[in-house]
Symmetry: C2
Subunit: 361 residues, 2 copies
Amino acid sequence: MNAAAPERIPIFGPPAESTAWVGPGILADADRYLVSPSGRFLLAAAPSAEPSAAILRRVLGARCVAEVAIDDAEASKSLASVEAIADAALAAGLRRDDAVVAVGGGVVTDLVGFTAAVLLRGVAWNAVPTTTAGMADAAIGGKTGVNHRLGKNLLGAFHPPTAVLVDPRALETLPDRDYRAGLVEAYKDAWIGDAALAARAGAALPGILARREAPLLDLLAGSVRVKAAIVAADPREGDRRRLLNFGHTLGHALEAAAGWGGLRHGEAVAWGIAAALEISRRRAGLPDADARAVRGVLAGLGPFPEPERDAAKLRGFLARDKKATARGLASILLPRLGAAVVDENVPSEEWLDAAAIMSLS
Amino acid sequence: MNAAAPERIPIFGPPAESTAWVGPGILADADRYLVSPSGRFLLAAAPSAEPSAAILRRVLGARCVAEVAIDDAEASKSLASVEAIADAALAAGLRRDDAVVAVGGGVVTDLVGFTAAVLLRGVAWNAVPTTTAGMADAAIGGKTGVNHRLGKNLLGAFHPPTAVLVDPRALETLPDRDYRAGLVEAYKDAWIGDAALAARAGAALPGILARREAPLLDLLAGSVRVKAAIVAADPREGDRRRLLNFGHTLGHALEAAAGWGGLRHGEAVAWGIAAALEISRRRAGLPDADARAVRGVLAGLGPFPEPERDAAKLRGFLARDKKATARGLASILLPRLGAAVVDENVPSEEWLDAAAIMSLS
């Protein structure tokens, strides 16, 4: 059964053309939305995303000229994987006017998108995220990259997918822990940029946890709209785009301190948001009711594993923040629901103090 | 002794800001021209470029916060080298607003420029080419990249250096074979885009071979001007930029067939130009006098090693041309000196036929 007309959400105009299509069942119509200058595609899919890959394989038929399997473990986000994907693509005769389709979670879209960015100095690609984290965050906005032993995403490129297909039915086989962790990013978009969406999706949390299509679609599409508006205004993360890092300044440090795989990215961000709520109350006048609303959703999405809280252990990871410049850390605070701000005057120590007392209940 | 005011040649305007500065002795004033948002630099130099690196080290002083040595062999253009440079840069605490300075030949500027393109999703860089090939070609125009086992520069990015410092005095220690091979690209720029320069530099060949500053400067600056005008009109190689590949369609195949290091890039291009002259006479009406003028300069720059001429051995390399699309090979022909054109209708076999009979004398 094919889908009703999806929602079309423009992310970037030319030259970095990027459009998200959001709708239940749209993978079955993928040939209408996926873009390739030559009409030929290389399918790069994670085994865990096989149900979605199978739909695309059927829809694309002979236009899919080659396939490469992508391991969706964080450890596969490496230059060695870029080389391996390039091997497969070039051996299959990929040309500059062909396009890649990445099918999977954030690891897959980050890695395959980056490979597309550097292959033959850049070929077009399309993202088919199959996780909540991918739909709300990784596949939207053009950031691609791999990890370096000193930190995540330290090597990368800005290379937006020409089309992003967000089909909530692709989530059907996603394990619950990943489903919930990824939703942290979707709610985060609402909290920083759309108070009405935050209220609707907050009230709809039970239905969303039960994976009911209507409220889930409302949250996912709303999240893409918020992120699209922010990244369109600031593609290269000079200013406004930093708002998307609400919860990430400390979150990245918590994630790194837990070791890769210890905390899901979204789980670490949830804790980072809890800390940001503390600092936002003190420094930005965040009303208690707003803080309670956010915390209530995070509690419902959890419980999440306990993070590292020891300042001595977190301090080094905080200092290594990729966004740090000569001016110091950029902290994202929330004066009220739906309107985040950047504050460059929050000392690292204040984040470490908040880590000691932050709570998700 | 510091330099007279150099010639300023704009290459790209914002956002891909890129400016070439051309003048004898300008390295001694490098602090006026090198650009870093933070004022801090990472110096990435080839040991063979040590005289130039020493000047920069002295001029930059404490603003040079770290150094990394780059092997300038073609084999070092690899993702493994990218990882190693990233290691050194990140270990030294490189931040997003710091900049890199690449000092060396085309291998160094291609590799370091590509690393800058992907490090922290892109940091600024400056190019200080110390070879004729780097000054006339590799450091100008924003193409960066590394090799893949299936071909040269198959992984790369468009990431122009903010500043390019072309100081002919940096060539003083360049071996004669490299000096002459690189000049093929400089003359090529004149032949495709500036008939007056081609005439002046053709007449001045003996002085240029003797490394006399005035005629060499005229050729290098003129070559940068031609290339800048072409790439500014077509940064991403959609159309006009392909003109720069005069001699390269067959040249790349000759270079690959000879094995890395068998023929210098410029030497292979010289043979490729010889073949292009044959096809240009037949298909584009190139006057005999123009063909003789080009061949005379190439003979003066040589003699160059004999290339592979066997069609059976060249055919596979020609088919793998990176610029090939579904439409086929893009051949660059020369109807007259100073005005090249793209022709998409030259069969590969015609290039292979020309390879059998091409001559540089």
